[in-house]
């Protein structure tokens, strides 16, 4: 069980290499096409938020480090960034999904999709860094592992 790492700058051009990095991990973990797509989407949504809101809107610059680890029963993706502290889970899921588009607020959908597309997500702010974790089970029979702190 080894961890591989990718570091990318705070530019939207980084989204594609991050997606490819996660996709490769999903393939290595043997995820089926649909759950691989959902995981790639989940990570892409959170990384886009970090770049646009955490770095660019906050006037900060820095990197995002992505780690992928294939465990026997699950695939784990970790994101670390030094952008403005932001917990994607402090907002409730949107309650307007049944409303017509013209009556909807724009936004809030990305994190919702991310949560729907993973078996577990976790956020913590440690030592001046945001740390987001995504877990997808490799087999449906396996239980969802707890996310260790720190």
């Amino acid at each position: 069980m080894s961890t591989e790492t990718l570091s990318v700058p705070d530019s939207l051009d980084s989204l594609k290499p991050v997606r490819d990095f996660v996709k490769h991990a999903a393939e290595a973990a043997g995820l089926e096409k649909k759950s691989a797509y959902r995981l790639v989407l989940a990570v892409d949504e959170v990384v886009a938020n970090i770049i646009l809101h955490g770095y660019q809107e906050a006037g900060l610059s820095g990197e995002i480090t992505v780690e992928r680890t294939v465990h026997p029963d699950h695939l784990r993706i970790d994101l670390y960034d030094s952008a403005a502290p932001y917990n994607p889970h402090e907002r409730d899921d949107p309650d307007h999904l049944d409303r017509p588009l013209e009556d909807r607020p724009i936004g809030g959908l990305g994190v919702y999709l991310a949560r729907q597309g993973t078996d577990r997500m976790h956020y913590e702010y440690v030592d001046g860094r945001n740390h987001n974790t995504f877990i997808v089970l490799r087999t449906e029979a396996a239980g969802v592992p707890a996310v260790s702190e720190g």
């Binding site: 939207l12 051009d13 989204l15 594609k16 997606r19 096409k33 649909k34 797509y37 959902r38 790639v40 989407l41 892409d44 949504e45 886009a48 770049i51 646009l52 999904l97 049944d98 409303r99 017509p100 588009l101 013209e102 909807r104 724009i106 936004g107 959908l109 990305g110 919702y112 999709l113 729907q116």
Partner: protein
């Protein structure tokens, strides 16, 4: 596959063909095409997405923008979407507000 977009407007039907991967880095191009469609007073917006391999929420936000800009009376058709893209559209409830078609249906789209 890189993102690519082409658009044409004919007789109140704005057609935008999207291919590759639609993420936050290219959503601005899609939004610009939607603005042009709105400016042309199109009554229908048709998105041809057979070769769209990926769409994030940035694409969905552009659809919300389209509906708000073009008016509630505008019909948005999404033609030829792949299963994963359809799942995203359904999961977010957008399937109530757009018409999903397997292939371009001139009889339905151009008469509406």
């Amino acid at each position: 596959m890189a993102f690519n977009l082409t658009s044409e407007n004919n007789n109140g039907v704005a057609k935008i063909t999207l291919s590759g991967e639609l993420d936050a880095s290219v959503a601005g191009q899609f939004k610009t095409a939607v603005e042009q469609a709105a400016a042309s007073q199109a009554k229908s917006l048709v998105l041809i997405v057979n070769d769209l391999a990926y769409m994030s929420s940035a694409g969905l936000r552009a659809l919300v923008f389209a509906k708000q800009k073009m008016g509630a009376g505008t019909t948005i058709y999404v033609v030829g979407a792949q299963e994963t893209v359809i799942e995203t559209i359904e999961m977010t409830g957008f399937s109530h507000s757009v018409v999903l078609l397997e292939s371009y249906d001139a009889a339905q789209i151009e008469v509406a």
